[in-house]
Structure formats: structure tokens, C-alpha cells
Symmetry: C2
DNA sequence: TTGTAGGCGTTATCAG
DNA sequence: CTGATAACGCCTACAA
């Protein structure tokens, strides 16, 4: 099974490789006759340029790399969706890697992508990531780079984010408006910037409405799972029965909370109100339907790719590119769990 | 930002490119002294071989392509997970494309991957796919190729599947054992082989237990969504109240069914029993917990990649490869919806 | 309008 | 042990 090459076409047609190449690329200086001959033969031989050779010549592969913590995840799979759709529109392919929330893996994968010489890299950091060197490496090598959602603020790259502080503030304010006085926050792990920001938003809302902050009302997820939600809900129900509101880092965990409350016959929203984060599809399917903060995941993917594209184009044109930060808007979705 | 190359190292060290290359690749015939010098310099210059050049020379890119109908899908995202994990273990990267259940897109994407000269291709067909030419193209070009789950039986490639007929038979038999007499099947679209096979399994089970087949009890999904589940459930409840069992093509749709029954206060499993397919995480979270057929998604990914790897290795060694079919086992998971 | 020549960076062969 | 040379397939000044 031999691949057909320019050389073959040139030889069977008795002309030079150059002419064949030009004919195929619609150069003006090829006689219509030879051009047609070339086109026909190329077609019948199913010629496609060898992308390895093209990559080597042009120094680009029209391929980008994407590193995310988890593929099986409502938010991230939607982001992937947005990225590959937008990439395809623009003639780019996407290599996807999963860090499994491990900093070690994330580092290795950055290295992999650098070695692969992808044209650009998009990353959302793992929960473990409290370390920057591998990201600086990307910058040092001059590879176009975009961070989204779980970012390192200190790295001067383009970023696509939401205003986590404000979104969290809104969520907690919503609970307060609904009459909650004693509000628990089930927060994300220690490292991720967005977990920190949502925590800050929670505190700010309390502050604004003169509710004293009480650290015993803060629970910290390690794995951010459904099971953790159940466990924390149980702890809360048994040790802090006076809690009447719950702001949860993400819908998956909030669904775990609701699952426990259902089992324990604790009435939501009558006895306790719950609001999640991210507007997962399932949150409108469970009983009671979960109030949440809508986070535009697909759009984040699209925006991330487009920022990357801009930077890649600048690089090609040797134009300096200024990193940009795009902040997408969020929205409170009120459902049964906070009626 | 210049990339460092063998040439640079050779020049600054005053030796030949060949020697540098050998030193870096641990060839036996390089003096320890020069070797060390090369290694040190390469290290301090952060040398990494230009993969474009390597690809061109070796005619492989250590990259495979994966085409699936949907990324945001519990089953497929788990398969992706399995594939990229196994690929990474073996030094391969994965380009992911999404056909959006469109045959047109699927064809284009196959072409894209062929042009990209990936080392191998893994595909799960879109629901629209009733057409083979693009798959034959892969075979014609001699590109290692594996199909999984939604396959074209006629294409002689390796395949990773479950026994959909048997799995469906088991599910329906389970309903019959639980006392169901009038069993509806909400089936998948017309084209996909696995929708056809599950339908056959349904009929066989009825036959075995002498329940006459009644085509008015078969509903056909177009989009296989939550909403469709709700709609069909409503139709069934209003027009065929004597139905007492429901075998649904996939959990997502089944969850839609349960959502309607919940709203309409129809008691599951007392009035009607429901069994889904694929063992989605959410199926154990909703109320009532959904009985289902467990389909090993991650494992399908792993098996698919491994089959592909075998074929890629055979190709390298110029050994003939015989396409294989791996059939993974399924299992009935009994939960509240069929108690 | 066509062709020659050089190079992208690596690897493999073969001779010194 | 070391290196010259060719080749992978394509692109692009520059000549002819």
C-alpha cells in the first residue's frame, strides 16, 4: 500500500515535482493543460499531501493540545465539545489529555504536548496544582497558551473564566433573600482558584447582610463527588440541625446532598434550602429540582479556542500578542430546592 | 525563540550530527566521553527531537484518531476515558472528533484523519450511518481500524461490542420474571446495529415466554433524549394504560420516563416496571433507582485501543493482522424500578 | 511556463 | 568510534 507522492505524479506525467506542486496549489503560472492533467491524475490516485512533510516545512501541525482534569464530567465534557467544534471550523484538530486531577500527570502531559510541537495548548488545572513551572515552560517556549476555569492567576496567559466571587455571592444572596439565616458552604478543595473565589464570594455575601462568618459551617471537599455530598449532608443534619441553607461548590455534590436529605426525609426546601453550581443537566431532573448557578461551559470552550487561535495567528504573522482575559457571565437558576 | 536541533549541538561541540544523534539514542558505538558531553549540552539546551521530522522519517506519529457521535454522553465519555488512558500508557496521543450523529460529518472526519496520517482510527458510528464507503476507505489505505459499540457488521475490521441481543433478552426476561405481561420497548433509531439487535433481543424474549409480539408496543426514538422519554411515557400512560413493563434503549431515556411517571404520580415499580440500559451513574441516584443493564464502557475503550495497538504493531512488523472481535459481558443490575 | 536546488530535522547505511 | 551522505516529501526562491 504505497502512498502517492508528488514525485510519483511528476514521474508518470513526465514533468517536474515543482510543477505538480504548483498545479495542485493553484499557482497562476501553470498552463491550464498541465494543470488539468495533474489534477486528474492526483484525483484518480487519491493524492493527499503528506502532512508529516508539510508539518516539517511549515512548522505547524494544525493541531492543538487540551489538558483537563476529567473527561467524564458534565462541565468539562461540554467544554471539550465547544473546543473541538470551534477548532474543527477553523481547520484544527484537538488532542485531549486527562490529568485525573494529578499535578504529576499534568506536568508530564504538558511536556508531551510541547514535545509533540502542537500549535497551541489549552489547560484547565488539576485540583492538586499549586505549582507553576510547567506552565511557565509553555510560555518560555513561546507556545500559544490559554487557561480556562481552573487557572493560575499569576501566569500571564490568556484566560477564560467566570467571576466566581460574584457568582458565589449571588448564590448565597439568593439563599439569604429566601430567608436563610444559617448557611453552610460545602466548598471545593484548597488549591483551585475557583474554589477559593467561591469561598470568598460566600463570605462577602454573609458580610453584606451582617451574618457572622462561622468556620464550623464550612465543609471542604476532597474529591468533589456525589458520595462526599451525601456524607457532608449527613454530618450537617446530625450535628448542625439549625442550618437552613446550603451553598454547594458544584451540582454533582449538591445532588449527593439532596440524595441524603431524601433518604433522611428532610424536606427541601421547607427545612433546608440548597443551591448548587454549574447547572448540570441532571440538576433539573432530580427531585426536588436543584437551584444552581448557570455556568456557560460550551461557550467557555468556544472562547478558549478563539483566544488561542488569535494568539496562534499573531505568532505566525510575527505580531506581538497581548494575553486577554474573557469573563463570561453567570446566572442564578431558581428551581424547587430554594422555593 | 529558536528550537534547538541536532545541528546546533553538533556545531557547538564540533562533532557531526550523526554522532550527536547516536549519543542521544544510546547507541553502543559512541565513546562515553562524547556521549556525556552531548547529553549535558542537550539537557542544558532543553533539546527535544522535532517530532515533525521524526514523523516524516519514521512514517508514524504515535497519534490515533477517535470519532464518536457525542462527547457529552455518559457512555462515550467513559469510553474516551478508557481509550486515552490506555493510549497514554503506550505512548500514543488521541485526537478526538465528534460526528454529532451526522453521517456527513463522520465522513469528513474520516477523511481528515486519513489526511492527517494518524497511525490508527477508532470509530463508533453515528445513528445516521447506513453507508460504508468512508469506512472502506480506511481499510483500503491500510490504516489500522477498530469499530466499537455502534458498528457496521459488514466491514471486516476489528470490533469491540457487547452482545446486544442477549443483553436485551436478559432485560426483558427480567421484566417477565418480575411478572410483567404487557411490555413496551422504547427502541433506538432505525439504523444503528445495536438498536436493531436490542429490538431483536426484546422479540426473542417475548417469543420464548409465549407473549405475542405487538408492534403497537414499540416506540422508536429519534434523538434518544430525556425529553423523548418523557413524551413516550406520557403517550403510553394515556393510550396504553394496561402496559406493565418498559424496556428502554438507554438510561437517559429511561430517566425521562421515570420523570414523567413521577409527575403523573404513576407508581414505579408497583403499577409499571422500568428497566434501562447502560448503567449510567445517574440511574442509581434518581428516585426510584433505575434497574438497568451494565455495559462496560471504560473497558470497551481499553479493549478498543489494545486491538488497535496490536494491528499497528503488526503493520510495523509487516505481519498480517487478522481482525478480531471482542465481546464484553453485560449484566442485569436490579434496582427499585423493577422490584 | 517550467525546472533546479536547497532546506526543514531526523535517521539509517555504510565507509573511514 | 566517528562522520559523510542520502533519504523521508514537500515547499519556495531563483533560474532558465
Amino acid at each position: 500500500m504505497k502512498e502517492t507522492t508528488l514525485k510519483q505524479i511528476a514521474e508518470t506525467l513526465g514533468i517536474s515535482i515543482t510543477t505538480v506542486s504548483k498545479a495542485l496549489k493553484n499557482y497562476s503560472d501553470v498552463s491550464p493543460k498541465t494543470k488539468q492533467a495533474v489534477l486528474e491524475l492526483a484525483n484518480s490516485l487519491q493524492y493527499t499531501p503528506n502532512s508529516f512533510a508539510v508539518n516539517l516545512r511549515t512548522k505547524e501541525s494544525k493541531t492543538i493540545g487540551l489538558i483537563i482534569p476529567e473527561v467524564v464530567h458534565h462541565f468539562f465534557s461540554n467544554v471539550i465539545n465547544g473546543i473541538i467544534a470551534e477548532a474543527e471550523k477553523n481547520g484544527y484538530l484537538v488532542i485531549i489529555l486527562q490529568s485525573n486531577e494529578s499535578l504529576e500527570l499534568e506536568k508530564k502531559q504538558v511536556e508531551l504536548l510541547i514535545n509533540k510541537r502542537v500549535d497551541g495548548i489549552i489547560v484547565s488545572l488539576s485540583n492538586e496544582s499549586n505549582h507553576d513551572e510547567h506552565l511557565k515552560d509553555i510560555l518560555r517556549r513561546g507556545i500559544p497558551f490559554v487557561q480556562f476555569d481552573k487557572i493560575s492567576k499569576l501566569i500571564p496567559s490568556s484566560k477564560v473564566i467566570i467571576n466566581d466571587q460574584k457568582a458565589a455571592f449571588d448564590a448565597v444572596e439568593h439563599l439569604i433573600f429566601k430567608g436563610c439565616k444559617k448557611i453552610v458552604h460545602i466548598r471545593g478543595p484548597v488549591n483551585p482558584q475557583n474554589a477559593i473565589d467561591r469561598f470568598i464570594g460566600y463570605k462577602r455575601a454573609l458580610e453584606k447582610y451582617n451574618i457572622p462568618f462561622d468556620s464550623s459551617l464550612v465543609y471542604t471537599c476532597k474529591n468533589v463527588t456525589f458520595e462526599e455530598g451525601k456524607e457532608f449532608a449527613q454530618q450537617i443534619a446530625t450535628t448542625q440541625p439549625e442550618v437552613d441553607g446550603l451553598f454547594v461548590i458544584t451540582d454533582l455534590v449538591a445532588v449527593g446532598v439532596l440524595a441524603y436529605f431524601n433518604e433522611a426525609q428532610i424536606k427541601v426546601p421547607q427545612q433546608i434550602k440548597v443551591i448548587g453550581f454549574s447547572n448540570w443537566f441532571m440538576s433539573q431532573v432530580i427531585t426536588p429540582k436543584l437551584s444552581t448557578v448557570d455556568q456557560p461551559s460550551y461557550e467557555m470552550g468556544v472562547a478558549s479556542f478563539n483566544l488561542l487561535l488569535q494568539e496562534m495567528n499573531c505568532k505566525k504573522d510575527m505580531v506581538k500578542f497581548e494575553p486577554q482575559t474573557i469573563e463570561l457571565t453567570t446566572q442564578i437558576i431558581e428551581r424547587e430546592s430554594t422555593f
